[in-house]
Amino acid sequence: MGKTTAEKIFDAHLVNEPFPGTKVLRLDAVLCHEITTPIAIDDLIRRDKDRVFDPTKIKAVIDHVTPSKDTKTATQAKILRDWARRHDIKDFFDIGANGVCHALFPERGFIRPGYTVIMGDSHTCTHGAFGAYAAGIGTTDLEVGILKGVCAFRQPKTIKFNVTGTLPKGVYAKDVILHIIGKIGVNGATDRVMEFHGAVVDAMTMESRMTLCNMAIEAGGTSGICQPDMTTVEYLWPFIQDEFTSKEAALTDYSQWRADVDAEYDQTIEIDVTKLEPTITFGYKPDQVKTVSELTGTRLDQIYIGSCTNGRIEDLRIAAQILKGHKLAPNVRGILSPATPKIQQQAIHEGLIDIFMEAGFCVTNPTCGACLGMSNGVLAEGEVCASTTNRNFMGRMGKGGMVHLMSPATAAASAIEGKIADPRKYL
């Protein structure tokens, strides 16, 4: 019997099975940010265990609230910063070099096919785009990961998503994943890995694959996973060219992590995207989705483009393409948060930032920002935001506020019209 990608990674990283059904895995990357890590650090100090298993495998960033907004967030940043210095964690990203963790760490080449990755952040599933097993965990699991470089998991079952057809104009990875979540529900993949296959995924850039995997958790999935291929190799090439004699050699090596053709799946779900329309959430759960045609004209107060879901360069390019020569409708305000400094700089070079600013957008530094209502861009009671983020829970972007999740293209079209609008007429 063949194996899924997650099964191959589990076998290669197994430390032991302390109880039937529980597998302790060796970790290749332990990622940290300033919201969930400081309490782990504090607890390790109190237990007299202020150690790290391997400083080269720990990566840390201040991203949720940056620059700090008050004494409490400054303290969280300081705890992380002091700890990174104390343990000689070289891959620590502070103000000026920091950005949204799930965009920054892949951009630095830290995630490779076959890796095991954990982070105290539910959207860690993003990194599965590289053919890795990447799971969000809580602070206690993070603490053990930092201390011992291991994490316990149940052997995951895998759902295969075969995404076929042709993506229509104005429809992107974000629409595909919203459609999938709408189809299987917010717990449709609980304790499952979501393995994405099919010609549509094969044709996607790494950025689009990250968007796809980013929202696996919104269906309860442990990790999204895409199959490593030449697109993966090309993305990673600047970081791996000393390890391999050629791109083909890298591809051969990485292909060991591809699922076997006779792998056994818990379920296989066919998704034909040919007739898919731009897809948007309408309620307070990510599985409450409708097509843009059904929601056209819905009232808005704020447009937010950014986050670990859709704050990457291709997202900014698509939104700018639509916004070019247009202004924000007078009833809405717009906020753009490029996900990393590199993306921001690239967007400046390409003239994208000019387009956003001429349209009337406020451009912030790279940060998680409005997505979870912790720092900037918070909504007032009764306000509505068109957002490229991943979570529309009640109060997520501010108490009493409401969020419609959508693609950058739909957000840009909605910015122009000041209400939910169809991006296809601008393309």
């Binding site: 302390p18 919201i35 949720h64 303290t75 539910s122 917010v186 442990t222 912790m374 009640m394 109060g395």
Partner: protein, 175 residues
């Protein structure tokens, strides 16, 4: 090991998420104790008051499917812990929340939907108490003039974590 059981807080809705349990704006707190006043602050349910007596007295939460979905924040189990709630009983849990509970030595207990229907119909709108025996895998609900015992299963690993009081000491000894 923590103690389990006592007055029940019923939350009769599926998909209760971590933003409802503890809003993100409180994630800047550095100690667990500071989270205490904000328990379930953004949860809107008919008849539910996050600041009410039932919330204050609760030691056990009984809810429906996919409890604890959303963020990885361990602040969700912590805000229960500092409010003396050490067990949540539900039809199913989001993976990260469930593991966070056991990693803290707390209990996330799954019961079939039919058992939960019985519990809700007998006592969902009344005062009820729950006694929980982790070793035996049994829980007894008393409320609405009815006393009823249910069996549950937790994995051997999760049981070991509850008995050990959490994952950090366990892992540091073994790995």
């Amino acid at each position: 090991m923590k103690t389990f059981g006592g007055p029940v807080l019923f939350l009769d809705r599926g998909d209760i998420n971590t933003d409802e349990i503890i809003p993100a704006k409180y994630l800047t707190e550095i100690t667990k104790e500071d989270l205490k006043p904000y328990i379930l602050e953004d949860l809107k349910l008919p008849g539910f008051d996050p600041k009410g007596e039932k919330t204050k007295n609760a030691r056990v939460i009984v809810s429906r499917a996919n409890f604890g979905c959303g963020s990885s924040r361990e602040h969700a189990p912590w805000v229960f812990e500092v409010n003396s709630i050490t067990a949540v009983i539900a039809e199913s849990f989001a993976r990260i929340f469930r593991q966070n509970m056991f990693n803290c030595g707390m209990a996330a207990i799954e019961l079939p939907a039919a058992d939960l229907d019985q519990i809700f119909s007998h006592a969902g709108d009344k005062d009820a108490t729950m006694s929980i025996n982790i070793e035996a895998g049994t829980l007894t609900m008393s409320g609405g003039g009815v006393q009823k015992t249910f069996n549950f299963e937790i994995s051997p690993f999760d049981k070991a974590l509850v008995l050990a009081g959490g994952w950090v000491d366990y892992a540091d000894q073994k790995y």
